[in-house]
């Protein structure tokens, strides 16, 4: 890559500065529709549904609009159905002709009307200039001023119009979609080259060193610009550049310093950038853009979660694969850096972000609490790196009360050998079965009591008292969102990393499942926050709510047992960790809600 590229915007495939309001939330969504129409295995119905949603947003581009119309007409035209029986076929030639004519008229007018007004040139002249098939312009003319064109002609024209749209809109737009991955990796390679030569560089005369320093800072500037344009993509590409898989290591088995990130330094010869280089780059970048770290941290946590799910086994050391180890040490590295940035004041820890806060690098303190919860809910909490990271977070929060309480949590202070764990594990599980049931019973009792008191309240104060006292939640249909972090309109803040997330917008409904699952950004929240719901995230760290689990009504616990087993799927009942199923947790969760209000 040429050095010049670092400064200027990339050519084809690069980002242009102008932005336009579009009805899709990502190019992936646009590509989904494109593929649903043009791929060898199309799903026209899905494409039409999505385009209907786009249309309702009021800014549907004409080429998409007309493509959808043509697809819809063709689906009902026996000519294109090739004898496939369908219920909503349109048999009337007259009606089909009208439909096609209108579609083609809208295409020609929609595309050429503005240039026509601006230049004063005739439509047919313009059509020749921009390559719109002449037949389409003729059909527009015939259809508006003369006889309705024949269906035979219209079939031909519809195919031409469809092909023109595919070639001139869908294909050309595909080419124009900015390729963040490509841009970023090319710039990273430039930096890699520079960093390779760094050692020898030091010996060189000052002027040359200055030049390369400038190159480096320009590159960082360029990455920052990319980050502003599409933060989530940049973050995920950056993470990809870390060598995390490193399968050779575990196979050869000659690497034992698993705690060190240096593991990967030699592992991937093909890759120009070592993890060390990447760390340097990210450190430099995060000096200017501290939020990059939070973004990467979020992705790494998601990665751990998906590894956990893949692993399925919640044994004591699920982090057996080298990947998990690498990922965990990356977590520690990121948290260490976040702490450093916080200590140097680049990340400000604030109670709440003001509406007009000029400090874009402020992180509200509840985010730390949530992040800590997230760590604690990971089943690999026993892994040393994660434990250390959690301890760092506690230190950052700088709250002695919580610190003390959390230190009591044995998982954070003790490292057990594999053997011990399995023994413990089996003990818990065997002794635990019964008490889960008794806990459920207790819950039921609480519930009953609560109902009784509610009824009593009703009897005393009448319906009004009930309304105001015991059902405040129902009354407030609208409430102000708690613990909000700034994020662009159309996105929502991630529940623990304070980064913006593009939400999955498919309707969740059993009947509709097939329609809604597709690629896109998903937040893996629902499935993994089995423990998080015991605590109320809106409370600040100075609350002991992180340990809410131990204070919640169904389990009366005097002290925490010494344990280092993964917490996932277990519940502290009567002083013992019991294995509980998802269903049991869910039913407890619903009961808990009643109790807490």
């Amino acid at each position: 890559m040429e050095a010049e590229e670092t400064g200027g915007a990339g050519g084809a495939g690069g980002h242009s500065t102008g932005r336009k309001l579009v009805p899709w939330s990502s190019w992936a969504e646009w590509q989904f529709v494109r593929d649903a129409i043009f791929s060898p295995y199309p799903d026209h119905a899905a494409a039409l549904r999505r385009i209907a949603a786009w249309r309702s947003r009021g800014c549907l581009p004409i080429p998409v609009d007309v493509t959808a119309s043509l697809v819809e007409i063709m689906l009902r035209d026996p000519f294109f159905r090739n004898g496939v029986p369908s219920e909503d076929k349109v048999e009337s030639e007259q009606m089909l002709s009208m439909l096609y004519t209108m579609g083609i008229m809208r295409l020609v007018n929609g595309l050429l009307e503005n240039p026509h007004k601006e230049t004063g040139r005739s439509l047919s002249e313009l059509a020749v200039t921009v390559g719109v098939p002449r037949i389409l312009v003729d059909i527009r003319h015939e259809g508006s001023h003369r006889d309705l064109p024949s269906l035979r002609l219209l079939h031909l024209a519809a195919i031409k119009a469809f092909d023109w749209l595919k070639c001139n809109y869908w294909d050309s737009q595909t080419k124009a979609i900015p390729d963040t991955r490509l841009e970023l990796s090319s710039i990273l390679h430039v930096m890699a080259k520079f960093m390779k030569g760094k050692d020898s560089e030091n010996a060189k005369p000052g002027s040359k060193r200055k030049r390369s320093q400038k190159l480096m800072s320009d590159s960082i500037k360029y990455v920052r610009r990319l980050y502003y344009t599409c933060p989530s993509e940049v973050v995920s590409v950056l993470l990809e550049f870390f060598v995390l898989d490193a399968p050779e290591i575990s196979e050869t088995g000659d690497m034992h310093q698993t705690d060190s990130l240096d593991v990967n330094h030699s592992s991937d010869v093909q890759n120009e950038l070592s993890n060390g280089d990447m760390e340097t780059i990210i450190e430099k970048l995060s000096e200017k853009e501290p939020r990059v770290l939070l973004g990467i941290l979020k992705l790494v946590i998601e990665m751990i979660e998906s590894l956990e799910i893949k692993g399925e086994s919640y044994a004591c050391l699920p982090a057996e694969s080298s990947k998990m180890k690498n990922v965990c040490s990356l977590v520690l590295w990121i948290v260490t850096n976040i702490k450093e940035l916080k200590d140097s004041g680049r990340i400000g820890l604030v109670e709440e972000i003001g509406v007009l806060s000029s400090d874009r690098n402020a992180v509200p303190s509840f985010c730390l609490a949530k992040l800590l919860q997230k760590f604690l809910s990971l089943s690999i909490i026993g892994e040393k790196c994660i434990t250390d990271a959690a301890l760092l977070l506690i230190e950052m929060a700088d709250n002695n009360n919580v610190k003390e309480k959390l230190r009591k949590l044995p998982v954070l202070s003790l490292q057990r050998s594999h053997k011990d764990c399995t023994i413990l594990e089996s003990r818990i599980i065997s002794s635990g079965q019964g008490s889960v049931e008794s806990a459920t019973e207790k819950l039921e009792m609480f519930k009953l009591q609560l109902r009784k008191s509610e009824n009593a309240c009703l009897a005393e104060n009448g319906p009004k008292g009930l309304f105001s006292a015991s059902m405040p939640e129902k009354h407030n249909r609208w409430s102000i969102a708690k613990s909000w972090t700034p994020c662009p309109l159309g996105m929502i803040p991630c529940s623990y990393s304070s980064t913006a997330v593009l939400p999955a917008l498919g309707v969740i409904d059993c009947e509709l499942k097939d329609d809604t699952i597709e690629h896109g950004t998903f937040e893996h929240d629902g499935q993994t926050e089995t423990f998080a719901y015991y605590s109320q995230p809106e409370k600040q760290l100075d609350d002991v709510n992180i340990l809410e689990i131990s204070r919640s009504p169904p389990c009366e616990i005097s002290d925490l047992p010494e344990l280092t087993s993964p917490l996932r799927g277990k519940l502290l009942v009567g002083g013992l960790w019991k294995k509980v199923t998802e269903e049991e947790l869910l039913s407890m969760k619903s009961n808990m809600k009643i109790l807490l209000c």
Binding site: R19, P23, I480, P486
Partner: protein
């Protein structure tokens, strides 16, 4: 208001009026305080507001109407950009001293006087309008969210809503006898074709006591002479014909349309500024965009609200994709006029700023006070575009603002040779700039 602020004076001055110079006949009405203008970073705020000079025929029309003994119902009509809104403001100011309060029926959904775009509303005004050249937001007495910037998509609903507003006014302010208020009806500038038919229906239903017809010099743009809405020689109301303040022979329709779009954006920006208390200064669009992004929104459960699409059918699987980052009207289902096909009264607008499908929560930004909001259970989605300026601020760009969009044939395509794919040509230049 359809004239840009800077041009008003020139236009007024240059109007070759047969009467003596405007300044001789009418006292110059100046707007005392230049209102804080919308903060479009692109358009620098024109600093001193030029004085509005009232042409003599406007002044005498005003004097005539305000000296009416009965309480007048005045309908102001005329083609676009002829000064209907400015005249209505003047009229409102001159009716106020005698009547104390004046009804104002705002029927122009594209450029409403006191409401954000897309609304049909009835106001009862008790305070004179200081700035005669710019519309100012005021709380409506009753409002419908029509959800589009032109009535053309659904004339029936439009007229029904309008009639309901008028009926409401008549029942509340013209029957009881305790307090009878005059009414000003400002109409849209769409006076040809369907627009004309709708104006006729409006006139027949409302039966105003005075019709003010503003005429431009371009005859074919004007409404027909006389009482065009009456079939035979019935006893009609008084018709006052006045000339447009600006004889603008150079009105290019495309230019005006752009103005309308920009003005709508500014009005919406103004509207959502109300989400912040006055001690927070959100001077520029950028500041407002960032403030909106960081403002903790209201959250409401999916199960607590119903979504109604006013102008489109949306498949059930797609409702959240349709709704995310769009403007909605907030309404109360139990508060619907008791007639067929009525849409419920609207309490204000909101932006659906995010949707958490997993938790079943909608995040909504709105200036509607929280007590009022509690009973809102309907979200009306229309086709009012969210202002682009609210979606892009450095570091907080909405995913719906995309770069590298190629969907139009541009000037470059037309002059470049060897084109295979005309939609590709443009590179690096903003499409939105071309739109603005």
């Amino acid at each position: 208001m359809r004239q840009s602020r800077r041009t008003v004076r020139q236009k007024l001055d240059s109007s070759p009026s047969p009467a003596p110079r405007a300044t001789d006949a009418a006292s110059p009405m100046s707007s005392p305080s230049p209102s804080p203008r919308s903060p479009g970073s692109a358009s620098p705020p024109p600093t001193p507001a030029p004085a509005v000079i009232v042409p003599p025929d406007w002044a005498s029309a005003n004097a005539f109407i305000s000296s009416e003994l009965s309480t007048p119902v005045v309908l102001v009509c005329g083609p676009t950009n002829c000064g209907k809104s400015t005249f209505s403001r003047l009229l409102l100011n001159s009716l106020l001293p005698r009547h104390g309060r004046v009804g104002y029926l705002d029927t122009d959904v594209g450029q409403p006087e006191f409401s954000p775009p897309g609304c049909l509303s009835l106001h009862v005004v008790d305070e004179a309008i200081a700035d005669l050249q710019n519309p100012v937001l005021r709380q409506a007495e009753r409002c419908f969210f029509f959800g589009d910037t032109s009535s053309k998509r659904d004339p029936e609903t439009y007229l029904n809503s309008l009639f309901l507003l008028y009926t409401y006014f008549v029942e509340k302010y013209q029957c009881t006898g305790s307090e009878v208020l005059p009414l000003i009806v400002n109409t849209p500038g769409w006076v040809k074709g369907t627009g004309f038919d709708m104006l006729v229906e409006m006139l027949r239903y409302i039966c105003p006591t005075i019709v003010v017809q503003i005429r431009t010099r371009r005859q074919r743009k004007n409404l027909p002479d006389g009482m065009f809405w009456l079939d035979d020689e019935q006893m009609g109301p008084k018709v006052i014909k006045i000339d447009a303040a600006c004889h603008d022979s150079l009105s290019i329709s495309s230019l005006k349309r752009k103005d309308g779009g920009g003005m709508r954006e500014r009005r919406l920006v103004e509207y959502f500024k109300q989400c912040f208390s006055s001690d927070i200064s959100v001077a520029t669009n950028k500041e407002l965009a960032y403030a909106l992004a960081s403002l903790p929104p209201y959250e409401v459960l999916f199960s607590d609200v119903k979504v109604i699409h006013l102008h489109c059918e949306v498949p059930r699987t797609e409702i959240w994709r349709s709704l995310n980052a769009t403007i909605v009207g907030l309404a109360i289902s139990s508060d619907t006029p008791e007639t067929a096909h009525a849409i419920p009264w609207c309490v204000g607008l909101g932006i659906v700023r995010g949707i958490d499908v997993q938790r079943g929560l909608l995040y909504v930004i709105t200036p509607v006070p929280v007590e009022r909001l509690q009973s809102v259970d309907l979200l009306l989605q229309g086709l009012i575009l969210i202002p682009r300026s609210l979606l892009q601020v450095k570091g907080c760009v909405s995913p719906y603002m995309s770069t590298n969009v190629r969907d139009k044939i541009t000037a470059k395509d037309l002059y470049a040779k060897n084109l295979n794919s005309p939609l590709v040509r443009e590179n690096g230049k903003s499409d939105s700039e071309a739109d603005m």
